[in-house]
Structures are given as C-alpha cells and as structure tokens.
C-alpha cells in the first residue's frame, strides 16, 4: 500500500506542477480571485451609501421624532435627512416635487406614490409611539412601565412559501452554477490529460512502472486539487466577509451552505472524474476527446437543468427528492435543494453516502476500462471492446 501511494502521489505531483505552471491556471485563478473580491467589495461600496429618506416638516423636526427614526434606521439600514418648510402647503409641495420622501404637517403624513417603501409606515409607527408614551406618562405611569408597554412586539411574521429564505435560495442556485462549471472544467481537464497521455503513448511507459489505478487516481488527484484550490479562492473572501460583516447582500445562513458546497464538489468530483477519465481513454487522437466525453457531459448538463428548472422552484416535490438522492444528479441537485432550508438532515447524509459509494464503485470500473483501452490504438475504442469475451482474457 505504501508503494501504491508513493507512485500515485508522484503522478499527482507531476500533474500539479504542470498545472500550476501553466498560463491558464494563473489566468483563471486570478480571474476567480477578482470575481470573488468584487462580489464582496461592490455591495460594500454600494451599501456604504445606504438608503436615505428625506422627511419634510414645518419648521425643525421634533427631537423625539428624530431620535426615534434614527433608532429605527440603524438596524434597517437607512438614514433620514430632514428638510424644513414654512407651512403645510410647502411641505406637500416638497413631497410632490420629490424633494422629500414624506412630509409631516399637523396631523397629516404626506407620501408620494413611488419610492417611499416602508418609510411612511415607520414614521407613522414613530408618531404613534411618541404620542402613546406622552399620554402614558401624563396618566402617571413610571418610565419603567412605559418602557415595558413600548417593548410589546407584534408576532413574528414568516412567509409560508416553498422556501425559508429567498436570499439563501439565490445562494443555492449560485452554488449549483459554480459546481456545474467546476465539474465540467475539471472533467475536461482530466479527459484532456488522459487523452494526451494515451495519444503520446506516455501511458504505455507509465503502465510498465505503475498500476492503472495509480495513474488514474494520481491524474484525478492533481486536477481535483487544482480545481478545489480555485473553488476555495472563489469562496473564501465571500465566506470571510459573511463572518465579519452582514452587508454583502447574502444571508448569514448561507456561510454553512458554502462549506457544504465544497463538500459536494469533492463528492461530485470523485464521482465524475473517473467517468471522464474512462471515457477519455477510449480516444485515439486527442481531438476526439470532446465527443468521447459527451455522454458524461450530457449527464452533468441534465442534472444541472433539473436542479434549476425542477428543484429550485419546488424543492420538496417528489421528483426533487428523488433526483437529489440519485447519485449521478445528487452533487448538483442537493446543494440547490438544501438551500430551501426544508431538507431533513438524514436525506442529506443519505445522498452523500450514496454518492460516495457510487464513486468508489466507479474507480474500479474506470480503472479496468482505462487499462484495456489504453493499449488499443489506431482507432477509436468502442465500449463493446471493453467487455471481456468468454473464453479469452
């Protein structure tokens, strides 16, 4: 076993060095880093400005109202500026002309038809709250009693939709897209390496020294590590930003989803990598690689489409549950479904276990195809040739 690992890691090491030295690795990793930093930084820059509402009042706004509104604005992420007008008509004109989001004059709250959002509600609540406090104090209640009444909150409001958190589902779909792209790119890289080694007959030299499983696992490891590094480059700034600040437009619960996405990549990669390698071993010329891996790519594309078209809109439907358990589609479907927040943990664990078991099974099947196909040169190998005939070996 020690000998097996030594040869395997040597193959992987060579693949890693060649990959990291290549220009495409540097370009892609650099782009991913820029993309990730941009995803974190741009909402920060935009978020720094925040939403600003303008309130018009007759004369200076009352200090109590200003304090209440500022207090309400801090957690909700808006700031309020105040403009003063001479009379009610001027306040109304300011709102109508768009100089103010809302206007307060006497007992009337003026709002414009557009772009006020929840601001008028907030003002109304603040006004009611201020007036209630004043009257309760007048009625002789102590400040503690007033505060106790003020702390009454309405029941928590939960939308009874198919998903718990729309923002998190967005993250889930994003994870699905990244996983799909990563699996296709990594699979193509593995297939290209295998086909290159076969067409340059390096594989024959390697098979004289190593076992097929060593060459196969080493090659897959090299590409896997490179792709994982690139995924981490993409995910780390986002995940770090999630821990440090909540102002990047991604719900905090998604940090765990990102971690899970990396785990799913490892599983999905293990599953598909050997399929890609076995398919690529069938080629004769390196130019045939794309058509040789087409069946594998098609399974990936189908899983991806199902994940977006079927699972994302209805994560708990019977079909969604089925495809999220099926090993070949689980790596792409389950992360999207998981983001709905309505997947029992046992289903996640089961899907992972099934995927891992299938991957292990595929290693031996792929090794056997790889070994047989590598020595058949001169024509594109058909899968039929891979099945040993009875009576001959």
């Amino acid at each position: 076993m020690r000998g097996w690992w030594r040869g395997t890691t040597l193959v992987a090491e060579r693949g890693l060095v060649e990959n990291v030295r290549s220009r495409s690795f540097k370009v892609i990793t650099g782009l991913l880093l820029l993309l990730s930093i941009a995803a974190v930084a741009i909402p920060q820059i935009l978020g720094a400005q925040g939403t600003t509402y303008t309130l018009a009042t007759i004369g200076k706004a009352p200090a109590g109202l200003v304090a209440t509104l500022d207090a309400a604005g801090r957690p909700a992420g808006f700031t309020v500026t105040y403009v003063s007008r001479l009379d009610e008509a001027a306040v109304r004109k300011a709102v109508r002309d768009g100089d103010a989001t809302a206007g307060l004059a006497g007992g009337t709250l003026y709002t414009s038809a557009k772009s006020a959002g929840t601001f008028p509600v907030v003002i109304a609540q603040a006004m009611v709250s201020l007036e209630t406090t004043r009257r309760l104090t007048e009625a002789g209640l102590s400040p503690q009693q007033v505060a106790s009444i003020q702390s009454i909150r309405p029941p928590k409001q939960v939308i009874a939709g198919p998903v718990d958190n729309v923002g998190r589902v967005g993250v889930g779909v994003g994870v699905g897209i990244v996983l799909y792209v990563a699996l296709v790119l990594a699979g193509t890289a593995i297939a290209t390496t295998v086909a290159m080694e076969k067409s340059t007959r390096i594989s024959e030299v390697l098979l004289a020294i190593l076992r097929p499983s060593q060459v196969l696992v080493g090659t897959v490891m090299a590409v896997g590590i490179v792709t994982l590094v690139q995924l981490l480059v993409l995910a780390t700034p986002v995940a770090v930003a999630l821990r440090v600040t909540d102002k990047i437009g991604v719900p905090a619960v998604a940090a765990g989803d990102l971690g899970l996405a990396v785990a799913w990549f490892v599983l999905g990669f293990a599953l598909y990598a050997f399929l890609f390698a076995a398919a690529a071993a069938l080629v004769n010329k390196i130019t045939e690689v794309n058509s040789a891996i087409l069946p594998v790519t098609l399974i990936l594309v189908a899983s991806y489409i199902v994940a977006l078209a079927v699972v994302a809109p209805d994560p708990s439907g019977a079909w969604s549950v089925a495809v999220s358990m099926f090993p070949l589609s689980a790596p792409l479907v389950m992360p999207v479904r998981w983001a709905s927040g309505q997947v029992p943990v046992y289903q996640l664990v089961l899907a992972m276990a099934l995927t891992a078991a299938t991957a292990v099974l595929l290693v031996s099947v792929a090794s056997s195809i790889y070994r047989r196909a590598l020595l058949i040169t001169g024509h594109r190998v058909r899968l039929r040739e891979m099945i040993p005939k009875r009576g001959s070996r």
């Binding site: 040597l10 594989s203 030299v205 020294i209 190593l210 076992r211 070996r393």
Partner: protein, 305 residues
C-alpha cells in the same frame, strides 16, 4: 540465470499474436528480438513488462516468476515515444527516475549524468516539444535508463534513426551490456542491427524460428560463400570438393557456396596450390537471409495454419 521467456501465448480475440514463445536472455550480452512487422514482438515485450497479461506462459527472472517489484527496476522504452510534451527535459528524466523508486536527489543527479552522457546536458530546462526528433529519442532513452536498470527492454529503438544516431545508441547499449545488464531490443531491420546483437531470437507469426548466438548461427548456416580471386589457368583444383557449388565465375571473382562441414580454409589452400590468390573473403549470410530460410522452414504444409 537471467531472463526466461517460457511458453508465452497471447491472442487478441481470434487473432493469435504469440503462440508459445520460449527463449532465454542472458545478462551481459545484447539480445535482439527480431522479426518482420506483425510478428508479435511488441506484444511479447508488453507482456514481459506487465503491460499486458499473457493467456499462457510465464516470464521468469533469476529463476522465479517476475513480479511488480522486479519490473520497477527494469527500464522500458516503447516503440512510440512517450514523453510529456510540455515538461522540461531534466524534470522529465528526474520524474521517471522517481517513479522507478529513486529519491528526488538521486534522480536529479543521475538525470544530470545521463543527459551529459547522451549529449543533452545543455537542454535540461528546454521543453520536450522544443527538442528535435533525435534529441527526443535520446531523452526517451534517458527516461528508461535513469535508474540504472538491471534489465533494459527497448521496442524498435532504431526505427527512424540516422546512421550516426544508430551508432551512438548502439554504443550506449554496449556499455550497459558490458556492465552486466540484461539488454533486449526488438527490431524489424535485421541487417541494421546485425553487428550489434550477440544473441538473437527470431519470431514469425507468433513463433520463434531461430535462436542463438549470431556468430554461431551465421557460421553454421549452409549459406557461407567463399569469394576468391585466384590466378589459376582453370578450375580443376575445385574437383576435390564435389559439394562446393559455383555461384558465379567472373574473370577476377569466383564465388563458391560452402555447405556445412566444409572448412573454408581447406578450399582456400587448394586455390593457393593452383595459383596465386590475389584476394579472398568469406561472406556469411546476413540476418535477413537467415530469417528467410528459417521462416521458409516453418512454412512447410504441416506448419501452415
């Protein structure tokens, strides 16, 4: 001792590639595995190296069946070149050294020494695909020799080489054989390698047709020709050798075919007794002539499959 090929058979579907091939390969000499294209040479070498599994038979090394550990000490150069195109030459040799079990440091120092021996020392950092065909060929040789293998197996190493490269490759192999290594190479260019191999195994249609030392095989074949330029008035001195036949008889060049059992020196003495011998020579059959006559023998009606 050495390497024994014992009754190896292999077929691809219905096509029989090897049909019970057996021969021994001694260390310290260069052995040629010769035969025409499609004779089964590459299949046999692949089986020896464990790339293919035989249907029947066994490869034995030092008296026991050869295993994975033995083979890791061997060096193999396949017929078609197998090098990583984008890898620097030095790294390539070092990598294969490490695959064969050398430490990184050993592999690097041996790679330097070997590239120097093969005249590639200033190409250490050059990418493989930037090297000329001949240089790639030498680099390929380096990857199979870097770990100083006890057994060196080369499949068609001379194919496509210019005479200079043939000579330098031959010298490299002679050096290894003299150092006690077992050297086996295959070739279909029989006459090209005639001077290089000491032992040969000739295969045709998956069977061995001729085995043994080249010198013995050539000398003991019935196809030796004595060429003699003798200033004699007539050919009466030949009458004492009824078995000797005249191949051609020009004015200054008499060519005689000597059957086995006739000593060429006796015939030459008779010629000298008849007149002044200006020039003479003994022509042994070439390997391809030997092959043709050996292959003919296997094509008797009973042998035709």
């Amino acid at each position: 001792m050495g390497l024994e090929i014992h009754d190896i058979a292999h077929s691809f579907g219905d096509r029989t590639a090897l049909d019970g091939v057996s021969f021994d390969i001694a260390p310290g000499v260069i052995t040629g595995l010769l035969g025409p294209n499609g004779a089964g040479k590459t299949t046999l070498l692949r089986i020896m190296l464990g790339v293919l599994s035989p249907d029947r038979g066994q490869v034995r090394y030092n008296g026991r069946p050869v295993g994975e550990q033995d083979r890791r000490q061997w060096g193999y150069m396949p017929q078609e070149r197998g090098l990583y195109p984008g890898m620097p030459a030095g790294d390539q040799v070092t990598h294969f050294g490490r695959l064969h079990g050398l430490s990184r440091r050993d592999a690097t120092s041996k790679a330097h020494a070997l590239l120097a021996e093969l005249g590639l020392e200033d190409r250490w950092n050059d990418c493989t695909d930037k090297l000329s065909g001949g240089m790639q060929q030498r680099l390929q040789l380096a990857t199979s020799l870097v770990h100083d293998p006890s057994v060196i197996v080369l499949d068609e190493p001379f194919a496509g080489l210019d005479p200079l490269a043939v000579e330098s490759l031959s010298e490299t192999l002679r050096l290894r054989a003299r150092g006690g290594r077992t050297v086996l190479f295959s070739s279909h260019q029989l006459d090209l390698v005639q001077d290089l191999c000491e032992d040969i195994a000739m295969v045709d249609h998956g069977r061995t047709v001729l085995l043994g030392s080249v010198a013995t095989l050539r000398a003991s074949s019935g196809r030796r020709q004595l060429r003699v330029h003798v200033k004699a008035p007539n050919r009466e001195w030949l009458l004492g050798y009824p078995d000797v036949t005249v191949v051609s008889d020009e004015a200054d060049d008499l060519r005689l075919a000597l059957p086995p059992g006739i000593d060429p020196l006796d015939v030459l003495d008779a010629a000298r007794a008849a007149g002044e011998v200006v020039d003479f020579g003994l022509d042994l059959p070439t390997l391809s002539q030997l092959f043709l006559s050996a292959a003919d023998r296997t094509l008797d009606p009973a042998g035709v499959r």
